[in-house]
């Protein structure tokens, strides 16, 4: 129930399903936000909040794609590696050619690798977990191959625009993040494709018998996820004007964790982009809060882990009701 629909109110006077899970995540978010605002006077400043957004943009962009996949019942464990490939490809192309071309090719390389995942899962029929686990190793290898294992640095300043310059007070990367959220959210809530994602994840056989092309829907989800990882990788490269092949290790798990904290069901068929983004922000705020309060980062990991367990446990409990 993401949109308020006036005609819906008329048709459903008394009864309206309160989605406990979307409600719960908002409560957690606000509680954390309030707690951090009270605990540190540096938290509630535009500069810090924009910083949190900027810091979380890469994982957030990936989480948008990953969420579409999980809703459709597939997991992509290769997004961290795609992120690295996109970053190094962008830098390499920027070095030999034009920086804008580097940015475009870097982003698109993510989509191409996503297509490869789609092929593995649909044509070779490997379980998405295993297929993308294997492809992530290959992709990471490609990143090493492209760079020879070294850091690639771009000197052309135009390359750094996306990751460092600001527009209306926010970095370009934050704007890109916002666009990705809007586009993926629109896809999921307003298009036939989005509806098919839910159907395919909720009951693939019913979807197939309803005339939905299950493989096409899942394959496209991989391409979109790859594209998101590509965009995120390019943003990261642009931020430091450099890239190395071991970028984004473990990023896939952060993205999946954020999505699940946001209430995406690992069983497929349920979830939303905006809730996944709230999940990303919660995890990012925890990190930010620990920094501001000067607490050892070791505890940060413990808290993040516990939070994920709590979120998944709550998901199970609510499902059983």
């Amino acid at each position: 129930m993401t949109e308020a629909n006036p005609t819906a109110r008329e048709a459903v006077p008394a009864w309206r399903r309160v989605d406990v899970r979307s409600y719960g995540i908002i409560v957690s978010f606000l509680a954390l936000f309030a707690a951090l605002s009270l605990a540190s006077d540096k938290f509630l400043t535009p500069r810090n909040l924009l910083n949190v957004l900027d810091q979380s943009a890469p994982v957030g962009i990936i989480a948008c794609g990953v969420t579409l996949g999980i809703i459709a019942g597939v997991f992509d464990l290769s997004v961290g590696a795609i992120f690295a490939v996109a970053a190094v490809v962008a830098c390499k192309v920027a070095l030999v050619g034009n920086p804008w071309l580097g940015i475009a090719v870097g982003m698109l390389s993510g989509g191409v690798l996503g297509l490869l995942n789609a092929f593995l899962v649909n044509r070779v029929r490997i379980n998405s977990f295993i297929a993308t686990l294997a492809s992530s190793i290959v992709f990471r290898g490609i990143a090493i191959l492209v760079t020879g294992g070294m850091i690639v640095t771009v000197t052309d300043e135009r390359f750094a625009v996306l990751g460092t310059r600001t527009l209306l007070g926010a970095k370009y990367s934050v704007w890109v993040y916002a666009v990705v959220i809007l586009v993926t959210s629109f896809l999921l809530t307003r298009t036939t494709y989005g509806r098919y994602l839910y159907a395919v994840g909720g009951n693939p056989e019913a979807a197939r018998l309803s005339g939905v092309r299950v493989e096409w829907v899942r394959g496209t989800a991989f391409v979109i996820t790859g594209l998101c990882a590509g965009i995120a990788g390019v943003l990261a490269a642009s931020r430091t004007s450099s890239a190395q092949p071991d970028l984004g290790v473990g990023l896939e798990l952060s993205a999946i964790a954020a999505s699940v904290v946001g209430g995406t069901s690992v069983m497929g068929g349920e979830g939303s982009v905006w809730r996944a983004v709230v999940g990303v922000l919660i995890l990012a705020m925890i990190g930010n809060g620990f920094n501001l309060l000067g607490i050892d980062t070791i505890y940060q990991q413990i808290v993040q882990g516990l939070l994920i367990m709590f979120a998944v446990g709550a998901d199970q409990l609510l499902r059983r009701r």
Partner: protein
Amino acid sequence: MGRLGDPEPTVGGEGAAGPGRPLVEARELSKRFGGVQAVDRVSVAVRPGQVLGLVGENGAGKSTLAKMIGGVHAPDGGELLVDGAPVRFRGPRDALAHGIATIAQELALVPARGVAENVFLGVEQARGGLVDPAAIRARFDRLNAATGFGLDPEARVGRLRVAEQQKVEILRAMARNARLILMDEPTASLTADETDRLLRIIRRLAAGGTAVVLVSHFLDEVLSVADEVAIMRDGRLVRTAPAAAETEQSLVLGMIGRSLEREAPLRPPDPAGNPVVLEATGLTRRGAIHDVSLAIRAGEVLGLAGLVGSGRTEIARAIFGADPIERGEVRIDGRPVRVRTPREASDAGIAMLPESRKEQGLVMTRSVRENTTLAALGALARGGVVDQRRERAAAEREVRRLGVRAASVEAPVQSLSGGNQQKVLFGKWLLRQPRVLIADEPTRGVDVGAKRQIHELLAQLAAGGMAILLISSEIEEVLGLSHRILVLRGGRVVAELAGEGATKEQVMQAAFQSVRDGAERRAG
């Protein structure tokens, strides 16, 4: 592949059917599932070395009764006695501890492991957690020799054919010293030859003092191997009689009962003279259906009757493109159409309500609206973007037309009753205005009121010119609605009856008719 050396059939061997204390006795056992009384105060008894046949229509309660004896279901009422003492099983394990083993329709083996390992799984008699392969092997050889199965102990179970896997299950039961083996439709997936062998094994087990309860649709098999036959109908025991006193005819009569009170038939107007809409010729899918042809006119209801596993659903799925077929052609309005996928079939104007609405029909976690419009979403969207107002209006129109009772179209479909879920499934396909509607078990698990409404809906759709293929395990349903009825057995059409005037007995005789020739009984 070992042959049984001189099996020496000993039907009702020494003391088998004679007097003496029953090994297992069911007294007035009852079981209810939701609103359905699956088993109603049934009493049966089995003595050591006796083979008891259990027969009845689909849904008569035979499997449920067997599952209560096997500890799978706990009875709601009545008593189960083993060796004269009352027992309460909390699971199949408890039953096994009392010497009762079940060989289910779906075999429960570990496919990736070897035969011997499966046979002794859980009863390895390990010492300090260490399994002694030599001891296992010796025990296996003894069992293998006793049965004459000749199974390779190292063979991977997953690679064996179903018949061989059943032998593994039987050995497994024997390794646990089973005194009663329950077999639920053990021959359903066997060839005639394999069936014969299994029947010999059953006789041999009985001769050795093991009791067997055999649930089967194949009356000839039951009559040839059982000492006594218990007939069930609508959850009740009709009678138990010595097999020698029964014939196939008498069993069928017992299964369907004499009084046939029917609801007023709803058969839509006679479609004779209307053009043929759907024509399927020579549909063949290995192991499922063989050379099936059918044609349905506009406004005609064609019923498919037959036992579970006779190929009814497989025909529906072949026409709808849900399963690949090896041969066959589908025509709509005389023009050949490609139906390799459900998408192609629905684009050609065919709709199918699948057998299981939960597994195949609905996305249970999504709303009534999303489920209703899923198959017609393309028409409710522009450039891939769903027109939400039109979508909602379409869903609400169907919900109103079909009388779906839901809090709103936004309610998750899993919150609805079975009958209302089924109506949502109808709505989903009616939105597409199909030329042909295939309804596979459209009233399964719905209450009486909803059932009547669904019947009326089907009649109304046919009267409006839709061609309907109706599949149901409930023969009354097929009889009441169909203009013509095709009876299937073993993946083939074995009889065609006019709906008007056809009797349940005719259908059942055709469906159960024993065929000694296995090649004809089972396709492929």
